[in-house]
């Protein structure tokens, strides 16, 4: 990875995709000095001492935000550190990562929040922790949400643990609403999904595997929507995977509920057929479902039902992944491939601007992040990418410390080139 001081850089012939920029859709030169965008125009003269960067089909947008990823530090540093996740984020085009609080110890109090914020100061990208909704993410007692909010947290989640007690979730929504905090709650009905390994359907039946029924997700979403109506507040459903869930959220949004939702990029590409050889690299939670579900997810992005696309990056070391399916941990590494996966899966259905909004303005709005526009006088927080570039992913060159990627050797369309973040250019 090449890092150059971004004291003086000019990007040549970059197509700007930023609907808050006066240059949206135009191909321009962009001169940046220090951490600021100084000048945008056509055929800008070379500033004194500036370095120049260009690439065929170069596009730029606001820096991408990954609204759901797991980082092992503190506690599971053999899987991923804050530094290795940052490098993987750069390779994947992200300038901001929102990490789940499922570290050891959990990020369920102000001290843990401040630890991450302190570490963030020395990292090349922004890493924002979620605070836990409940102590130890155990779904029993509410964590100190306001104290963590005072430390700078705007969104809270228990990761992939669902709060089974509806009264507790009601109280959390009410309590969080006093400061307009975002409650991010994973949708599952645990009693219906115990020991499940994949989507429940024709393929799980043929493989003899216990499945996640789609209704387990939909029932949880419907319950949470009722609680949202009753308690107030803002609810984000981080990972939708089934057609029924998308339809439920579409109806809720139409009725004016303050609900948002996301999808992880890999769900736009894979279906439950991927499990045919019991390969643990395809074991994820929620599971890959049918092609009908996959297409509904794409439709959901296109019509605005699904607000954001995330990586759901979940680094798992070989010791916990390379096992017979029942013993393998859920999840894949995806920071470096999230954009490429989404672009490859959706290029025939979703225009690039919509895709970029799901990685930039939508998550920024949900999280209350003030993202600078690509405009003169604004701070430079930018992702560089080629939306139509074919390329092959090589897991051996991954920056992540874990190698649980199903994409080794995969041919993608759409390549991140690097980011401009914290006054520096970082190339993939």
């Amino acid at each position: 990875m090449n890092v150059a001081p971004m004291l003086n850089l000019i990007l040549r012939r970059a197509t700007i995709l930023d609907n808050t920029s006066p240059y949206n859709g135009q191909t321009m030169d962009i001169w940046m000095e220090g951490d600021m965008i100084r000048k945008i125009g056509r055929d800008l003269p070379m500033p004194d001492g500036a370095t120049e960067y260009t690439a065929s089909g170069l596009h730029v947008s606001k820096g991408w935000i990954d609204m759901q990823c797991v980082i092992g530090e503190p506690g599971f540093e053999s899987c991923e550190t804050l530094q290795s996740a940052s490098e993987a984020a750069i390779a994947g085009g992200f300038t901001t990562l929102c990490m789940l609080p499922v570290t050891h110890p959990r990020i369920d109090n102000r001290a843990q929040v401040e630890f991450i914020f302190r570490r963030n100061l020395s990292l090349p990208v922004h890493i924002l922790p979620y605070g836990a909704l409940t102590v130890q993410c155990e779904g029993k007692d509410m964590a100190e949400l306001l104290d963590m909010a005072d430390a700078g947290i705007r969104a809270f989640t228990d990761g992939k643990s669902s709060i089974e007690n509806p009264k507790l979730l009601e109280l959390i929504l009410q309590y969080a609403s006093q400061h307009d905090l975002l409650v991010v709650h994973h949708s599952d009905t645990p009693a219906l999904t115990r020991q499940a390994q994949m989507h429940e359907g024709i393929n799980s039946t043929a493989l003899g595997l216990k499945g996640f029924p789609a209704i387990a997700e939909m029932m949880a979403v419907e319950r949470d929507l009722h609680l949202l109506t009753y308690a107030g507040g803002r609810l984000h459903i981080p990972l939708v995977s089934s057609k029924e869930t998308v339809e439920t959220i579409r109806r809720a949004k139409a009725s004016g509920q303050k609900v948002s939702c996301g999808v992880a990029s890999q769900y736009l590409l894979f279906t439950d057929l991927a499990l045919q050889t019991f390969d643990p690299m395809y074991k994820v939670n929620p599971p890959y479902r049918t092609d009908e579900d996959r297409m509904e997810l794409i439709d959901g992005i296109a019509d605005g039902t699904i607000d954001i696309i995330c990586s759901d990056h979940t680094p798992v070391d070989d010791e916990h992944k390379i096992h017979e399916l029942a013993h393998a941990d859920f999840g894949i590494t995806n920071l470096e491939t999230a954009f490429a996966t989404a672009r490859t899966a959706t290029s025939s259905y979703i225009d690039i601007s919509t895709l970029i909004e799901s990685l930039t303005s939508h998550p920024a709005s949900l999280l209350g992040i003030q993202q600078p526009s690509i405009a003169e006088g604004q701070r430079a927080d930018i992702t560089l990418f080629q939306p139509d570039e074919p390329w092959q992913y090589n897991a051996d060159s991954s920056h992540s410390l874990s190698h649980n990627s199903p994409f080794n050797g995969f041919l993608f369309t759409g390549k991140p080139l690097g980011v401009i973040c914290k006054s520096k250019l970082h190339l993939s």
Partner: protein, 316 residues
């Protein structure tokens, strides 16, 4: 010599009809051999077979062991209790360690679906283990291919051709290790298959496999030529899937009284072990229509055929 299309036997699903027919025709020859005064042949001399049983088994393990001995293989046995598995060793490490002792074939029983396919795929990555051949002796609720083959062989022996026969698989389909393999095998051979049991013990999407689904035992018995009664797998049920054994036996237990109402003969099978008085009463299990002990005998011949054909594949 004809040979199988596969190096491993991980399931029936990926076998061709020709593979199945080759195994059954070879089994017929071995059945003749094991009924001779001298039952042993030298076919697997200098071949070492490891029986890896990560879950309890009595008849399958004994059946494989006898089949291996009749073929003159060298045998080592391994069970998970008291082994390094209980100390946290992975499946791949266990297999690699055993294969490092110059073992040629692994017969594996495992509690988790897909374990045999997973192991076969993983061993390709290890040059010293890549030669090994895997025979699945039951992987959780996925497949138990040799049971399905011996069941098909037993039906052939009892009823003649399988093509067009109506076979009912009755009982705990949900937790069974044999139901899927039986469905795949019987369908490949041209039989019609129906599964019967309470809805809570039948996978919701099973009809997508092309089988009929029934919750009425008498109607199913009237329909079928062969009834394969499955055991209630209490050890795999985290919940009570039906209120009581009494109620289950009343509705789904096979009794002589129910058989007598049919006015037609039915071939009765059971993969064992039998819960007498639950899914089948003693007077049915021990009756002339039952081929339960023939299944056990045929199991040895079928497993000899599988071992012999796979070993030939290896040597070729």
């Amino acid at each position: 010599m004809e040979s199988l299309s596969t190096r491993h036997l991980t399931g029936i699903k990926n076998l061709t009809l020709q593979d199945v027919e080759l195994i059954l025709s070879t089994a017929l020859q071995f059945k003749e051999i094991i009924n001779r005064p001298i039952k042993k042949v030298p076919s697997l001399r200098d071949v070492t077979v490891a029986n890896l049983f990560f879950e309890n088994s009595t008849r399958t393990k004994l059946s494989f062991e006898i089949a291996e001995k009749r073929l003159s293989a060298d045998i080592i046995n391994f069970s998970s209790s008291g082994s390094s598995v209980s100390k946290g060793e992975t499946l791949v490490d266990t297999a690699n360690n055993i294969l490092a002792m110059k073992v040629d074939m692994i017969v594996m029983r495992h509690p988790h679906p897909g374990a045999a396919i997973f192991l076969a795929n993983q061993l390709k990555k290890y040059p010293k283990s890549a030669h090994a051949q895997i025979i699945n002796a039951g992987d959780g609720t996925h497949e138990h291919p040799t049971q399905a083959l011996l069941d098909a062989f037993s039906i052939q022996q009892s009823c003649g051709s399988i093509t067009g026969k109506k076979v009912a698989i009755i009982g705990d389909i949900m937790h069974s290790r044999v139901a899927l393999s039986n469905i795949y095998c019987l369908q490949k051979m041209g039989a019609e298959v129906c599964v019967c049991g309470p809805p809570t013990l039948i996978p919701k999407h099973i009809s997508s496999l092309g089988v009929a689904v029934s919750h009425n035992l008498i109607e199913t018995l009237l329909w079928c030529d062969v009834a394969n009664m499955l055991r209630i797998q209490f050890e795999r049920q985290q919940l009570k899937y039906f209120p009581s054994l009494r109620e289950y036996a009343l509705h789904f237990g096979l009794t002589k009284k129910k058989l007598d109402t049919l006015n037609k003969p039915i071939t009765i099978m059971h993969p064992g072990p039998i819960n007498r008085g639950v899914e089948i009463t003693s007077d049915v299990a021990d009756s002339g229509h039952s081929i339960i002990l023939e299944q056990v005998e045929n199991g040895v011949a079928v497993r000899m055929a599988v071992l012999y054909l796979l070993a030939g594949k290896h040597q070729s």
